[in-house]
Symmetry: C2
Subunit: 194 residues, 2 copies
């Protein structure tokens, strides 16, 4: 395979297959821990810093730290300085399903020319406000529409969507949930400032 | 209650209680739909645009559209131009639990002076890469450490954390999951460009 054809959808498939073989030989390489610090600013506004993470048996760091702003619109009593947390859930899901589709298509040699998606989530505010226990706090449903530009028929495009659902970590999180352990720790602000 | 004391943690509690009463009188006000468009760029990079949403029986719009970039680090075969999707999950959860804690503290008249949190999530890449069906695709566990600066004892601070867990929509999503319906729709790119 030439260097040219190894790149599919921007993904170096030789490296991808190399990574898969390396992990098969030593599964400890596959264990990652992702992290962030978040600081409350005022009302619905807060900010996260994302910088280091652990993976491939070493401490790693992004090329640069990333800063994210959450806020709520004025209707929800804040200043609307950023997307709100449930919109970030839709973004996390969109990013992950897109990457899952594109990487798994690359591994199968399927060239994607364009991929645009639409995400919609239904939320009843009575949950968050504690008005009703009959509606859930989070989204009750999410709808995802995939527009795939590729040289294949609709049946093959539906297979690509199936792959995104099968392999996306965030699709798994949002579909199935997981345990979240919360604790009080008065050393966090000091660690964040360090 | 004077105008001054109605603002707790930056939240106008008179407006908050007014919203709650309005929703009790007409629950349809509480129904929201949040939305985004996402576009694949290259390899692990994609971008979302967040602009309009529906709520309080009307079409609404953020003060300005928000743009978010997802990417993967070089180790994961991309250019590291933004946080990756699972880091966005941690940010969504951080933003929502922080807002839940702050708003519900405000409703109870508890002043928060500072709130810093640390989020950690464990992910085994063998799931995403399809190497093993014994490990899940998403996070296997998330740990959250809360550092709360407020004039109250640890027992009261733990009550505040309980409130964040009880009322946060993203905590509900990440803990319990929900149905995500995926479909092929070749009109999305055109709608996004409009």
């Amino acid at each position: 395979m030439s260097k040219t054809t190894a790149i599919v959808n921007g993904v170096d498939t030789e490296k991808l297959f190399g990574t898969i073989e390396a992990i098969k030989a030593d599964p400890s390489i596959a264990k990652f821990e992702f992290r962030l610090f978040n600081q409350w600013i005022d009302a619905g506004e807060n900010r996260s810093r994302i910088d280091d993470f652990h993976g491939a048996n070493q401490e790693l760091r992004h090329k640069q730290p990333f800063f994210l702003v959450s806020d709520e619109p004025e209707l929800l009593l804040s200043e609307d300085r950023g997307p709100n947390p449930v919109e970030y859930v839709l973004h996390a899901l969109a990013g992950c399903m897109t990457t899952g589709l594109v990487y798994h298509a690359a591994a199968r040699g399927i060239a994607i020319k364009g991929l645009t998606t639409r995400f919609e989530g239904d939320l009843d505010l009575r949950g968050f406000l504690g008005i009703s226990n009959e509606v859930r706090r989070g989204f009750s449903a999410i709808r995802v529409m995939f527009d795939i530009d590729a040289d294949c028929d609709d049946a093959k495009k539906r297979e690509l969507i199936d792959m995104a659902q099968t392999y996306s970590p965030v699709f798994d999180v949002v579909s199935n949930g997981l345990p979240v352990a919360c604790m009080l720790d008065d050393g966090v602000a000091k660690a964040q400032a360090a």
